[in-house]
Assembly symmetry: C2
Homo-oligomer: 261 residues x 2
């Protein structure tokens, strides 16, 4: 019932603070910000229910409609999930039917359900110093410790995806090849439960490339097979980059599906 900030006061403060730019922000945006803070602080964990709209309305001293609009936006950002009659829940990469939300590679025939789960194989997992390039992507300093993982995903025992990924060392202290191998389920679900890091959105840059010898061997490819190169930066709350990932996808049996709206 205690709330750190009366949104009305917040609005007044914001108005005073900046005189040139009006900096007007509607109440529901401020409420959205407060809910986001609570999510980031881990007040409600992935998979849990947040308080009901009415409770939140009382807590923030606004109408239910205003809370509703704030939650609507968070839900369309995929940070919350509304379930009629049950409540509003913190989104999670685990145990939903929206698993592998960020993986857009699908088989040419059938769909992901037809195909079944991927076989994962960790090729390598070690700590090292960030190169300038990796430091830039992860907003670290050159030389900071990063965790580097290389793995192969197979479908129906056909190696299909080779991934190299880099994680900042500090938040992922204690992550090892063993723990990665032991965990069944999406890697991003492991990040949530074991390290409290929830990936919220990502940007990808896609190119067509020819694999080098090592890559060709790991994917057991014939020569001259082009691959899709997918470079992803994944972000947690507050636009903090938390993962750099370079995927190499076989696209003779699969394709990268994208919906343009």
């Amino acid at each position: 019932m205690n709330h750190p900030l009366n949104p009305i006061d917040a609005q007044a403060a914001a108005s005073e603070a900046s005189l040139n730019t009006p900096a007007f922000s509607p109440l529901y945006q401020q409420i959205k910000g407060l809910i986001l803070q609570s999510l980031q602080a881990g007040e409600w964990k992935p998979g849990e229910a947040i308080p009901s709209e009415i409770e939140l309305a009382v807590r923030y001293r606004v109408s239910q409609g205003t809370v509703r609009k704030a939650i609507d936006e968070l839900a369309s950002d995929h940070l919350l999930i509304r379930k009629q009659g049950k409540g509003t829940f913190v989104a999670t990469h685990a145990e939903q039917h929206v698993q592998y939300r960020f993986l857009k590679l699908v088989p040419d025939q059938g769909d992901q359900n037809t195909e079944g789960p991927a076989q994962r194989h960790i090729v390598d997992c070690k700590r090292l110093r960030a190169t300038a390039e990796i430091a830039r992507a992860l907003a670290l300093r050159s030389g900071d410790t990063v965790l580097q993982v290389r793995r192969v995903l197979s479908f129906s025992n056909v190696p299909t995806i080779l991934e190299d990924l880099w994680l900042p060392g500090a938040p992922f202290r204690g992550l090892t090849a063993e723990r990665l191998s032991a965990y069944h389920g999406p890697m991003y679900a492991l990040f949530e439960t074991e390290f409290g890091v929830r990936m919220v959105r990502a940007d990808e840059k896609i190119r067509a490339v020819l694999p080098d010898k090592t890559q060709r061997e790991l994917l057991q490819l014939p020569a001259h097979t082009p691959l899709l190169s997918v470079e992803r930066v994944a972000y947690t709350y507050k636009n903090t980059p938390m993962e750099l990932r370079r995927g190499f996808y076989r696209t003779d049996t699969h394709h990268y599906r994208n919906a343009l709206n």
Copy 2:
């Protein structure tokens, strides 16, 4: 002021029609459907303003809030564009700052503004009979007339994109290489103004491929340069497929950018 259907009656009819499935659809969804019909019928043309929320509320005999929610959804589908203080407008591919909404290829350095507009070159444009594959994609019958266009897009005079595209013959009667070459602006804008076809959404399948000899020559590529193959089906209102397009993108200086939410 005349409206063809009272939404209350529509709801009653819907409830009667199907007894097994409740088929409950909220009022604002029905209003959304009615507005969509008007858009499809061309009652309001791309770029024009639609009636104000209050006018529509009177016309459909609902509250302004209900119209508002209908328009909200259409706006987030990019079918309408709201402009505070001015009105609500039918979205268009022409003359917006959201031009080339469906083109996700961007230069590795700088952005699209840095790069300037593409140079277009129509290589070929002819009418022929639809193959089974093309007929399937465009929901036509095999043998129906389709228009086939091949063009090259260059940036800074470097050929970067080779596109083959197929259009159903009937809606695009009268489209020629000359008219394509003469028109300055996005192709989808020409489709709107000249043929009344507005592309609303699209699906893309992306692969890495090696170009054949013809493609290599048209793009002036060295041997063994892999390309991004982008197969797009674009839809107009009511999910009607209206274009099949196969693009081949150079990705040594550009990349396909995708945001995952």
